[in-house]
């Protein structure tokens, strides 16, 4: 730039050179703009992901020996009742937290979608309060609310004559506790996503439906739900991925036995099991094998999602 301005007459060589340099920069600059992501991700994301497969084939002690053992970790894993326990727990917690949460979010979004709703901003903002509360804080509060002896829930139940329930000790009840915490943190966020999608539905479509004699349930069933299908699929995918990662809630729920979420591993999830094996037992190879299984589950889910979403889009484009 400066050469251009300073020497307008003595042209050619410097101008050409700087223009060429600039052209080269213009051509390569996009790669520099996206490079930070790819460099950081390669080091801290992709490489670990690939290396995880390698470690899973070893008997790998971080402070001792590393011995190649082929697929022994996997045969051991599939014969390990603790693994199946953690898998079932993860799926159970996922279903218990996702299904009611998304239905609730859908209902709340429907309520919030009234054009004449007063204090709409207040309601919307309130829905996000759980989202900004950390998992650790959430867990500590809910663990107390679900406490067997002094928890508010058991107190409320006692008013209607129900005996105290040891929520955290039972398998299904402990799932319920973890699911409640997960659902509480995310239902408001999903409500806002659904609300945004609801507001994108053109009003005249409802008018047309009404003219055709569709009642409010029919409108909901045949207009609202189909229009929301993409966002519903989106939230199901994100909740599934989130559900497979549940870790902090079970870790902090039971301070007496953190790594197993209780004496009988009643609410130990897959990631917590991975952590227990990797960083509690220092069995890096075995822990990595759990990571590989999680990866396969996620690829399967992504594949199913791809099939479903292409089928849906197929009708449109």
């Amino acid at each position: 730039m400066t050469t251009l301005a300073d020497t307008p007459i003595q042209q050619k060589s410097p101008t050409v050179k700087s223009r060429r340099r600039r052209l080269r920069w213009e051509r390569t600059s996009p790669y520099f703009y996206i490079a930070p992501f790819f460099v950081i991700f390669a080091i801290f994301g992709l490489f670990p992901l690939l290396y995880n497969f390698v470690i899973s084939l070893y008997d790998w002690n971080p402070i001792g020996e590393q011995k190649f053992i082929g697929i022994d970790n996997f045969t051991r894993l599939f014969a390990d009742p603790r693994f199946w326990n953690a898998t079932v727990n993860t799926l159970g917690i996922f279903l218990l937290s996702t299904v009611p949460q998304l239905i609730l979010a859908l209902g709340l979004a429907h309520l919030l979608n009234h054009a004449r709703l007063k204090a709409a901003n207040f309601f919307r903002m309130s829905m996000l309060v759980p989202y900004i509360t950390s998992v650790a804080a959430t867990t500590i509060v809910f663990a107390q609310l679900f406490d067997r002896d002094y928890g508010m829930l058991n107190w409320l139940l006692s008013l209607v004559g129900v005996d105290p329930i040891a929520w955290v000790d039972g398998r299904y009840t402990s799932w319920l506790v973890v699911s409640t915490m997960v659902g509480w943190r995310w239902f408001g966020y999903n409500t806002l996503l659904y609300l945004a999608a609801l507001q994108a539905i053109p009003r005249d479509m409802y008018e047309a439906a009404e003219v055709d004699g569709a009642g409010s349930w029919a409108q909901f069933r045949y207009l609202t739900i189909p229009s929301l299908r993409p966002v519903i699929i989106f939230t199901i995918i994100t909740s599934t991925i989130g559900g497979l990662q549940v870790f902090t809630e079970p870790l902090l729920l039971n301070p007496a036995a953190p790594l197993t979420c209780g004496a009988s591993r009643q609410c130990q999830t897959l990631v917590l099991f991975l952590y227990e094996q990797g960083f509690g037992q220092y069995e890096f190879g075995y822990g990595a094998a759990i990571g590989v299984v999680l990866f396969v589950i996620i690829v399967l889910i992504a594949g199913i999602n791809f099939l479903i979403s292409t089928r849906i889009r197929g009708g449109r484009s």
């Binding site: 920069w25 801290f44 005249d204």
Partner: protein, 305 residues
């Protein structure tokens, strides 16, 4: 004008139209679900608000009334007067102030860093032509769907190999790669910055770097702000990764400090609740000022059919 009259007008119009207007003719107004707001709508929404707020309120009650409040039947529902004393105990039991500072450093760096880096990368993907662009963008999308939790063991080994165990950069640097943010900023830049504007700037001799800073970034700054805010919140609240790479209490983030409080006196819930509440206050303050932008950001950016 009161709401009831307008409702009646609405219904009257609707009835009149239903009787006289043929289906093809345009209708100016419509009823459900936009028409009237029934009382039970408010009731249900207020129940939802209470469900959102109560756990935090309960945290506050125990944090100010002490451990005894958590072991009281029927439960105490009014805050007590011991808040300051309990907070002081929090600060002396663990290096809580230092933890707040650590969390602020990490979350702010990641918030600002991702807002900038994702804007630039999103700009490149949305508006620049270069070989391999689409393939690279598909890669970004794929990385969004793979949760990195499953690779924590080799991730820890990488951090350990470069000597970053027990440092804050072990949290900051990996957090700067944010695939979701690139996706989000690409959508925003694609839909808000017109190609004509880009062409005009190019004809004026502006390079892509100048175009980004002078034309694109000012336009998408609100979206970048919301993105930074979302990453700030999720980093502040993150638990697993700091839990794995940090060892010294002086380097702990607030979330780890909460766990320490929970463990240091398993019976003293007042301490853990006070720590939890103190760790949430900064986000509540941020939320008070910019929560509205967060709401609209999530609503118009997070997902587009």
């Amino acid at each position: 004008m009161s709401a009831t009259t307008s409702h009646r007008e609405d219904e009257a119009i609707a009835v009149a139209e239903a009787m006289t207007v043929s289906p093809e003719s345009p209708r100016r107004r419509r009823r459900s679900p936009i028409g009237r707001v029934r009382w039970w709508t408010y009731l249900l929404l207020i129940v939802a608000v209470l469900a959102c707020a109560f756990p935090l309120y309960w945290m506050f009650v125990v944090a100010t009334a002490g451990n005894a409040a958590a072991h009281q039947i029927p439960p105490r529902l009014i805050p007590g007067g011991e808040g300051v004393a309990i907070a002081q105990l929090v600060f002396t039991t663990v290096p809580f102030v230092q933890s707040l500072i650590n969390s602020a450093i990490v979350a702010t760096t990641i918030g600002v860093g991702t807002a900038l880096l994702c804007s630039i990368a999103g700009f490149a993907f949305a508006k620049l032509q270069f070989p391999g662009r689409d393939v690279l963008f598909v890669l970004v999308i794929i990385t969004m769907t793979v949760p990195m939790q499953l690779a924590i063991i080799p991730q820890y080994m990488v951090i350990s190999a470069i000597g970053w165990v027990d440092t804050l950069q072990a949290l900051i640097v990996p957090g700067l790669a944010n695939a979701f943010g690139i996706f989000w900023m690409r959508q925003h830049i694609g839909s808000t910055v017109s190609d004509e504007l880009m062409q005009a700037a190019k004809l004026d001799g502006a390079g892509t770097w100048q175009i980004f800073w002078q034309i694109v970034f000012p336009v998408v700054r609100p979206a970048a702000f919301v993105l930074g805010l979302l990453n700030f919140v999720s980093t502040w609240n993150d638990f697993l990764w700091p839990f794995i790479v940090l060892k010294t209490p002086e380097l702990f983030t607030v979330q780890l400090a909460i766990r320490q409080l929970q463990n240091s006196r398993a019976i003293d819930l007042g301490l853990a609740m006070a720590g939890s509440f103190l760790a949430t206050i900064p986000l509540l303050i941020v939320f008070f000022f910019v929560g509205r932008r967060l709401v609209s950001g999530i609503m118009d950016g997070a997902f587009k059919g």
